[in-house]
Assembly symmetry: C2
Homo-oligomer: 247 residues x 2
Amino acid sequence: MVVGLGPGPAEWMTPEASAAIKAATDVVGYGPYVERLVLRTDQRAHASDNRIEMDRARLALRLAAEGRMVAVVSGGDPGVFAMAAAVFEAIEGDLQWLKLDIAVAPGVTAMQAAAARLGAPLGHDFCAISLSDNLKPWAIVERRLRAAADGDFVMALYNPASKARPTRITQAFDLLRTLKTTTTPVAFARAVGRADETLTLTTLGEADASLADMATLVVIGSSETRVIARDGARPWMLTPRAYGVRR
Amino acid sequence: MVVGLGPGPAEWMTPEASAAIKAATDVVGYGPYVERLVLRTDQRAHASDNRIEMDRARLALRLAAEGRMVAVVSGGDPGVFAMAAAVFEAIEGDLQWLKLDIAVAPGVTAMQAAAARLGAPLGHDFCAISLSDNLKPWAIVERRLRAAADGDFVMALYNPASKARPTRITQAFDLLRTLKTTTTPVAFARAVGRADETLTLTTLGEADASLADMATLVVIGSSETRVIARDGARPWMLTPRAYGVRR
């Protein structure tokens, strides 16, 4: 089973995911996700580095083929920029694994946790775009940012920066500033649900790309997205259900 | 608290959502969502019709202002085409409610449940688009479908058809057939997680719009989305993590 652990806290992990971890003989995943779990001594943990999703997927499938009950864990939702695609790619590459009993357990993904904290920024049509160019050309990222601006979608930007490529989000902001008004609300949601959670609400004109790291989700508003100021607290961010009403 | 109950089964409802329901003195929501819950005799249920989100939001805020502990429930994630936006719109309309202690509890939304059953169709960048034109002109729906096709996003289409407007999805398919190849994988995911769950995998060329109703989520692949055939079972649907590799 490919299992989504949610963004971090136990209160956001589904009962299905908890049951899958409990039932597993083997837990396979990126180190920090595996370490988040309290496993029994009869359960085997297979923690690995971030960059080797395919090796991890194949290890999980080999273990399952040996008859083990395997949980492949992802933070958030395994279907959103996470392990589900890698597992099915591995199956496509070795069709003997098609016989295995595979299932996916969905989870709350980072943009939903960020949205919950911010108010209702995803209240209307939206896109999720990974700025990682490890497995795709930057040109397709640009094409999608342009299309998302053309469609006036709210955008949830995953993987805005990494140690290897800290400037992706800078490039994205530079492009979006040519396509959208500078007053567009922008939020940086970092480590939502964890002890070091940080939320910053700003505008496209003033957004400081250095606030984004690997643990950050960036939300860019549509033309309808607005903020509701509060005394002594961060404003709420709202994309209303109606479109074009104020025009 | 604006609470996401997930797509239906208890195994997809977060512990946070369960705790919020337990702690509530009043539960406000669309009838079928409120009926899904087992409430105590000391808890008040306020079930209402689907079309009156703003009345429901204002009722919840009035109750909270009276000092009640209110859970406003949505199926799926309240931040995705659900009650969170209505609640913040109501607050914007009557700023005395800004003083209330408001929070949002995210949940698994329909596209994630559908994706989990289908394999990994959302494995790369994607859009979520509601085809409802109750609160927006159809022109913006068309603009977004065009933009999503231009950006080669996977699309998750919510509210593809209703009793009042059964032909939205037909219009969407007609438009998308002019923009994407007829072999693009398309999935209809109906009532995922419920007893009457139905999944249908087809192509854009052959998709039968009459399969979509109010309980259906429609997934349209990108140019990279493909299927993995299985003996005696529905194929898996996969959008790989890499882009342009086969070009």
